[in-house]
């Protein structure tokens, strides 16, 4: 991607993000956020986080999600660890160790990524 375009994207995303943060603290200090919008905004984070996770667990190859056993097992175990510990470090470390462990087993071939 062209460097100028990358810079434009960074600046535009920065401005858009700052706008959301500034909205009520800085600009609309005496306006109430409508109840419906407030509820809708609460549901965006779980939806988007899950939407980022699933294509990494079921890699989409030629428009179809595929089963990648090492990734699926590692993700499920990481989920359990996250539920129990609520710790980012524990979740990431256990998940990566399981993934590497399974990828090292001969015969269990996960997809390889460049």
């Amino acid at each position: 991607m062209d460097a100028t375009l990358v810079w434009l994207i960074i600046v535009a995303l920065a401005a858009a993000t700052f706008g959301t943060r500034l909205s009520f603290i800085g600009l609309l200090a005496h306006v109430e956020l409508p109840q419906l919008l407030q509820r809708a905004l609460a549901f965006v984070p779980p939806a988007i986080l899950a939407a980022i996770i699933t294509p990494q667990v079921f890699p989409v190859v030629q428009d179809l999600p595929t089963l990648d056993w090492p990734r699926l097992v590692a993700a499920l175990i990481a989920f359990a660890v996250a539920f129990r510990t609520r710790s980012t470090v524990a979740t990431v470390s256990v998940g990566m160790l399981v993934l590497w462990g399974l990828q090292a087993v001969p015969g269990v071939t996960g997809l390889s990524y460049s």
């Binding site: 600046v11 899950a50 990494q56 539920f83 990431v92």
Partner: protein, 245 residues
Amino acid sequence: MTPAPMTTPQLFPPLPRRAALRAGINASLPLMMAVIPFGVVCGASAASIGLSFGQAWALSWLVFAGSSQIVAMQLMASGAPAWVIVLTGWIVNLRFMMYSATLAPHFRARSRPGRWFAAYLLTDQAFAVTLARIIEGREARETAWFYLGLAFSIWLFWQIASVAGILLGSFIPATWSMDFVVALTFIALLVPLLNDRLMRSAALVGGIVALAPQLPFKLNLMTAALAGAAIALLMEKIWMRPSSG
């Protein structure tokens, strides 16, 4: 003068400015176990798709919102058009509007530069901890200083972690499947949000829609987010109507 936003019972004597700042910094320390690894992952995600150090660093200074940075990097790597990258990143960050609206009454008495700086520092963690403090019934002025100590401390550690991640990200070999770290980090972010049926439904719908056949312009992620939020909102309307009076 702006009137006090809420007449909450004063359970605690208001702290002086320095003590409130220090309390904020102290409150930030337990968060570092989450902030630092996420900062490293975000820095690394920018470096790993080939952004220059300056671009990656600017991203963490100017955007300063990890999830949207990662989303932007993934879309950029997949060749999405610029407008989709910016729009999707913006949707990821729309939650800040909700935080901004909740915190606004506590900053009404502050100067304009103070409010703008507070807005720049707004993050998920700074919001969550400050909200807990507000619920305790703390005074608005004290809350503002507490927030400043907390949010600035998070910002500082995040920036250091980001630089470490940017430097690290360009050295890690692809065979280590480090892209999976992003998924795992997001699992750690997602799990605490799954505390009711509606939030779980939003996640389920978002996760499934993201696997649907590729939409034009890489709009899958944005569609997944909006579909998840819309379904959860609809479910809430259906379930809440009979009981709410």
